[in-house]
Symmetry: C2
């Protein structure tokens, strides 16, 4: 199995970085191949516009989906986008590793999605959900949230984290035909002692070792 971990945290010594490192070790020890796109380290540019393309089908008016289709047919993506498309298409398992910021992904990760999940590559031509272009791949979010667990519930200030991630699960993973696995969430690692952080990393490793038993999120057909 080939795993792609897309890692989005600006601090190399962060708990998110420890999660990505542990995921890599765990999956490699199981015999899998692991590629990490460390977006901050790569200096990945998350802004989606004309820069995505080597040439424009219509230089006068930017329609991103039309240009993506054109670039898909002509191998016309900018090199930084094409490299990530290649990694995405080659993987069997996609892990998005990030700290939740404002109940969503850091912009650098959102932009990786905006630019890399291109029409003609990740979807298009009636290929979505059960007919999705990326069917056969599995995908999951692995994330940290700042607040304690109680804040994220139907009776708390926010909704369940799984519901907050609906745009990613349904709109990205499901839409493109990937099998969406339950997210792995660590609540408030910044307030944990070292022992508790190590226990959470161990829990993550066990989760990845038994990914075949992870809950699959339901999708429309």
């Amino acid at each position: 199995m080939r795993a792609l971990i897309v890692h989005a945290h600006p601090e190399p010594a962060s708990f998110n970085a420890a999660m990505t490192a542990r995921a890599g070790e765990t999956l490699r020890s199981l015999g899998h191949e692991v590629v990490v796109s460390d977006l901050y380290r790569m200096g990945f540019d998350p802004v989606s516009d004309r820069r995505n393309f080597l040439e424009m089908a219509d230089p006068a008016y930017l329609k991103l989906q039309a240009e993506e289709l054109h670039a898909s047919a002509k191998a016309g993506f900018a090199p930084d986008v094409q490299a990530e498309i290649d990694r995405l298409l080659a993987c069997d398992l996609l892990i998005l590793q990030f700290p939740i910021w404002w109940l969503g992904m850091p912009a650098i990760l959102k932009g990786w999605i905006d630019r890399v999940f291109a029409c003609g590559m990740a979807y298009g031509g009636g290929r979505y959900f059960s007919k999705g272009a990326l069917r056969g791949k599995r995908a999951m979010c692995a994330l940290t949230v700042g607040g304690p667990r109680a804040v994220y519930s139907a009776t708390g200030l926010y909704d369940e984290v799984e519901q907050i991630l609906f745009p990613i699960h349904r709109g990205l993973f499901g839409f493109t035909g990937m099998t969406a696995l339950e997210p792995f969430v660590v609540y408030g690692p910044n307030r944990m002692e070292q022992d508790a952080r190590r226990a959470e990393l161990d829990r993550f490793a066990r989760h990845l070792e038994h990914l075949d038993t992870a809950r699959i999120l339901p999708m429309p057909a």
Copy 2:
């Protein structure tokens, strides 16, 4: 009243650009002051990390919230961030104008939020929801979605747009104490004839002229 429109579309001739232009005209005609942060035109950098700060309280380990607090006390934000913080703090009405991409904001807009809604400025010190640092301001999303309306419903492929925007409404507007107004949504402007597009722009103008009657989204105390 001072309005800040944060505009996030890469094509200057887009329907989103027409919405921002019409909002500006409408609000100015009512006697309000309007400032537009046109993120693509500004070349706004959406990546949040050490670049946000003129100096680091702890150069060895990046904790964004701690650095934001430090920068708030020392006027230590990078000029591009400080300029947008000033615009945010000065406004009475915030409009986020964007096309929905992957059921969320384009990365350039998410990064504006990641960098500008800084701890010590937009929240912090127990100031949230009804005690929020930005209370007294109103905020709304004005957006286009690619699909038809029927796709966005409890029985469609996705949820209602208002529910999809929960992270922005609850986690950003509500959390910082702003009064969250119902979103203004245009479905599928790319498939509309010019007459229908003009009618949607007229509907937007009328909505802004009667913003005092816009539905207010409920928030926890």
